[in-house]
Amino acid sequence: MVLALPFLFMGAEGVSAGELSTQFVEVTLDQVKIGQSVRLHVPLSITNLGANSTRIKVDAVTPAPFELRDGYEAIPDPSWIRFERDTFTVEPNETALTDVILDVPYDVAYLGKRYQVIVSSRSIDGMVGIGFRSRVLFSIDAVVEY
């Protein structure tokens, strides 16, 4: 029996996948202390070089093994990374920014560790999404200050 399967890729016709650009490619932090929250020095920026406004979603995700830098292991919990805002709209030829904050839990098990997390940004409108997988690398101080 042959059945009709209406199949529709997501996205309206005429909505451009466009072009996105970022300068938030890799950020390295050294000697972060357990129990500390740090606001990354450079905000996550997404520039929309396409012709249409684009909605962007930002998440912190665990890196795949092939994405790990030498000497770093995957972050135990991506929720250590927070964003000032995780969804925003970028108009054509404009840049949207959001602060990125790292919260390291107070646990001596993390002393001296080196972790990597991926900041995933992507357009969420349209059948074809585009975006970036930016690296945040950080080392945790091996010493607890008393």
């Binding site: 199949f7 997501m10 072009e19 996105l20 050294d30 995933s120 969420i124 585009i130």
Partner: protein, 215 residues
């Protein structure tokens, strides 16, 4: 052009005990400043252990830019079990991915955000194969309960990519290695529809192309 910045990072907050220590440290810093001033005037003696410990940062600023076309593909009604392939120069067109950066970039593909109506949630068999030359990626998309949210998918068939699942589903690299500056590649695909009477409905999902620095 690539620029790298290094510097000290000022903590935003610390937990309570850390805050107390921070306050003590601040008071100590003021005291130290006074002592230092006297020290400079008298004997330049500043104890080494009085140095304030800081977190350092390094930021590499480059511009990473990616373009993917076409923006949208609508296939319309297809028979159960049908296979739909992209056609070079025809319709539906293959994807065209371009690295507009002046650095090497890895481009990864993931399927995400499956949405469907009238599609069984317990028998995943949607297939999407993405091919590039001799390499072939196949996404088998299982529709999650509730028909919303990242679909679970497996990677099958011959592949040189990694089958690790990301938060948004499996991610694989576009074959051929990193894209050099200005590189543009065609990514063909093949979609295998489920051969099941329980799959009548509309299936929507997004194919996601994400770039990362290859350096």
């Amino acid at each position: 052009m690539q620029q790298t910045f290094r510097g000290d990072l000022i903590p935003e907050t610390t937990n309570l005990s850390q805050r107390r220590k921070g306050k003590m440290k601040q008071q100590f810093r003021f005291l130290l400043a006074g002592v230092s001033l006297i020290g400079v005037l008298v004997c330049h003696a500043i104890p080494a252990e009085a140095q304030v410990h800081t977190t350092t940062f390094q930021v590499t600023l480059v511009s990473l830019s990616i373009t993917v076309t076409p923006p949208s593909i609508t296939l319309g009604s297809k028979a159960a079990g049908a296979t739909v392939r992209s056609v070079q120069g025809g319709s539906p067109a293959p994807f065209r991915v371009t690295n507009n950066s002046d650095i090497d970039a890895i481009v990864q593909i993931a399927g995400t955000n499956a949405k469907s109506t009238s599609v069984s949630a317990d028998n995943p068999s949607w297939m999407l194969e993405i091919t590039n030359g001799a390499n072939m990626f196949r996404f088998a998309a299982g529709v999650a309960a509730g028909n919303d949210g990242p679909f679970t998918a497996v990677l099958e068939g011959p592949t040189s990519g990694d089958t690790t699942f990301g938060n948004a589903g499996p991610i694989v690299q576009v074959p051929g290695g990193p894209f050099g500056p200005g590189d543009s590649r065609t990514v063909s695909w093949e979609l295998v529809l489920p051969n099941s009477s329980t799959k009548v409905g509309t299936q929507e999902f997004q194919i996601l192309f994400q770039a990362a620095s290859a350096t």
